[in-house]
């Protein structure tokens, strides 16, 4: 297969297994490109991409922008904070205004779940979802799986535990879809209050004992406690959370085997993981960031090749 089955990347839910493999194979080539002394290819020189961010982001936005520039696309950036959105403009109007300046692709982050899907039905441009509320964050899940594949050779058959706030996490949901699609075994682990009631319907097991979960897994993906999304108290104190669900060096070393530690960032050092874990050899956190650029280049390149 040499073409994606979709015209937009709205979520992992809409992808097929072959799409993920094609994205990974393409990312392999781009990873070689970004490790050259001249890290740029001219493929997308006639494509203009708008990065539309209705929610704060540093890493994802930088990563997308770098990916676009490495492909030679023209890039415009838009942050809702300094825009007419504050004056009452609707989402479709905002984006259509941007598109009338001849933009071919929109990378959007939005606080509302389904914002990307809504947009794809109303505007003529390829849409890439860079996070929509607590729904999906597909490029993060792709780069996570890609990093597992790079570290362990394959994703199929691997045991992956996602630890932390599953309820509010788009990273968790996209990761579950991506990992299941590739044939990995997935468990989630965290306080009962932060695990969605029907999560098992996705073919995922719930484990509330962190030590048991870690002893079972090959890879632990440690999510950040997103204080900004916790409208009510889901656990007594951060300190108590850390005691039950935080990973430190002592815990890692007491396990039966060496596991891989991942984190989508930004890290709350000392909360989900301690510094000595984050900076240890078992952690592939910075590889995830590097792979993020290659994965986003692959996604943008493959979607752009479908724009006629």
């Amino acid at each position: 297969m040499s073409e994606l089955s979709v015209n937009h990347l709205l979520g992992i839910k809409y992808l097929k297994e072959q799409d993920i493999q094609l994205i990974f194979e393409t990312a392999d080539h781009f990873k070689e490109v970004i490790n050259r002394s001249i890290k740029k290819v001219p493929s997308l020189r006639d494509i203009t991409i708008a990065n539309v961010f209705f929610e704060n982001s540093t890493r994802t936005k930088l990563s997308f922008e770098l990916a676009e520039k490495r492909l030679s696309a023209d890039v415009i950036n838009f942050s809702a904070g300094q825009s007419s959105v504050k004056k009452g403009e609707t989402l479709v109007d905002t984006v259509n205004n941007i598109l009338s300046m001849k933009v071919d692709m929109v990378v959007m982050r939005h606080p509302n779940p389904g914002a990307g899907i809504f947009l794809s039905k109303h505007v003529k441009a390829a849409i890439v979802n860079a996070g929509d509320g607590a729904h999906e964050h597909p490029t993060q899940a792709l780069l996570d799986s890609y990093s597992i594949r790079e570290k362990l050779g394959d994703v199929a058959g691997k045991n992956v535990v996602i630890v932390g706030d599953i309820l509010h996490s788009r990273v968790a949901l996209s990761n579950i879809f991506a990992l299941k699609l590739q044939g990995a075994n997935v468990k989630v682990c965290g306080p009962k209050t932060l695990i969605p009631k029907y999560i098992e319907s996705l073919g995922v097991e719930v484990e509330t004992d962190l030590r048991k979960a870690l002893n079972w897994c090959d890879v632990a993906n440690m999510l950040r406690i997103q204080n900004e999304r916790l409208d009510i108290s889901y656990f007594p104190t951060t300190r108590e959370y850390t005691q039950q669900f935080g990973v430190n060096k002592k815990l890692l070393e007491s396990l039966d085997k060496e596991i891989v530690i991942m984190h989508p960032g930004p890290i709350n050092r000392g909360v989900e993981i301690t510094s000595d874990v984050a900076d240890s050899k078992q952690s592939i956190i910075l590889n995830q960031v590097e792979n993020g650029v290659a994965i986003r280049m692959a996604v943008i390149y493959l979607l752009a090749s479908k724009i006629k």
Binding site: S2, E3, T26, H29, R36, I38, S43
Partner: protein, 181 residues
Amino acid sequence: MSQKVLLSSKEINIILHRLACQLLENHLDFKNTVLIGLQPRGIYLAQRLNDILKSDYGVKHIDLGFLDITFYRDDFRRGDKPLEANKTNINFLVEDKNVVLVDDVLYTGRSIRSALTAIQSFGRPLEIELLTLIDRRFSRHLPIQPNYRGRQVDAINNEKVKVMWKENDGEDTVYLINTTA
């Protein structure tokens, strides 16, 4: 569709040795020269020349690389079929080196144009030359000519030249295929 044999295995072998000798004449010990095979089908020719130069002519070391030009092509989003990338494998810098680009068939010259751009990502070469097994005359879209050619062919536009290699296709043969007849 009809096809005829342009070059047999024996003829290809003679040509490969002649091309190797011509390269030797200009580059002697290959100390400052690199061979770059273009993906996907120029890599077999580059590999063969590398092997012949080493085994039959005593060249000790040749820097051999494979270059994929997919991301540098000028027909992105213009064709019906999506472009498929291949692996680039160049483990050396081409800065101040003599670069010999190697491809199986020279037709419009557009691939070579892309390769000239692509190779810049690996440094600024001293000089770039072009070697092709088949040179399809009178069909160029760009002012590009080979420095070393195996065989010159006059083929019309609905004819296709297909180079087969033992390691990939099971035989060493060059066919001229008429797609209309």
